[in-house]
Amino acid sequence: MKYAYFPGCSAESTARDLYLSTMTVARALGIEFIEPEGWSCCGATMAHQVDHDLSVSLAAANLLKVKDMGLEMVVSCASCYSRMKIANHEISTNPKTREIVSAALGKDYDGSVKVRHFVEIVLEDIGLAAFKKALTHSLQGLKVASYYGCLLVRPPEITGFDDPENPVYMDRLINAMGGAGLDWPHKVECCGGSLTLTRSDLVVKLSEPIIAMAKDSGAQCIAVACPMCQINLDMRQDDILKTTGHRYNMPIIYITQLMGLCLGMSEQALGLDKLIISPQETMNFIRS
């Protein structure tokens, strides 16, 4: 199985752990990833707030590279996923946008490259049966709240990821690994996303109810697939403690890190040392 893999800017910075764990898991599952040469920023998260045509063009530059490779594009960052899908949608439904973007790129792009999230290819292309077969370790009943956030599921007409109000893709993976994917109400709430530096007060207000609800639902950790959700929920627990006095100590772990642990991969290969809230208690559940 061969795909063009788009790492996204965060892969080299704030989501190095997501990148490392995605690559490690892909290798273990026999998935071949080729990075488009010279890939550039997809326009997330700010370009669409400033200049619509620029945001679509920045994403399209990468989609065009992948089109030339003749492959599907796989992304692990929810924000890149969203921007790529929106760019394809805008270009294929609005001839004027296609014209403007093609002029900016110096080459016509038709919006046809298929964009998929890593979780989707594991479930849909590898399949749960083959995934289970590859597992060497188990989560031993670990209770996990899968948190999907905004960008994977909304707007549903454009992203087409699972169910927009009650997605279960990550839960299916958790259950396959011997864990317990929890049915809980805050799966698709917003953590405050891109306000992380400009309005951290709001991020604290939006993130706390998510962590609190996961805890009240019995979760021992929260699984995520978005770099912004990860950093907000992980890094802001300290600010939640300072402003409200509530201590959660809830590990916020990428779904790919949990997958890697169950595939027998090392903590270092999965970037688990980069998490701010220690995942040690979660890792104690892993049994071979």
Partner: protein, 187 residues
Amino acid sequence: MPIRIKKEAVKRGISDRVKEISGIDINACLQCKKCTNGCPVSGFTSSSPSEIIKKLQLGAGEELLASEIIWTCVSCATCFSRCPMEIDMAGVMDALRVMAAETGAAKPDGNMPLMNKILLGTIKAFGRTYDLGAMALYKAGTSSYTKDMGKVPLILKKGKIALLPSQGADKKMVKQIFNNLEKARKK
């Protein structure tokens, strides 16, 4: 709560310009308020998505661009996903941000326009975002050095932020995109 607007002198509100920028027609709105009920930030800000739409429908002018929600909106698209008339409210907010920045009406709490400008600047220079550089410039631009500064050594130590900008991008292509769009706009 009554919704009040100021009629502009030209008697033509800004909803046409919103449509021009975003392609979105807000006239289909039924005021069912599903957007506002699902909005994660409407409880923390002085307006709501349905109120913004109603004001646009009534012919609100540029004074609307000073609304705080334009910058507290997190683009989560819950509004759009739940709208029975399929109005892309997140797209409307994007258009209002563009207009607010154009007219200088943007004076949000937490300087998002500055953050956007800085991050786009790093993309133009390196082809990829440079978080640490952007953070430093934002802190310098807003004189907010002390806020969150305790986090920097921690994330640097954990390797959760890159020290230097990435050098791997096709910078020529990215520069070409910025330049071509700028040229096309000047025409």
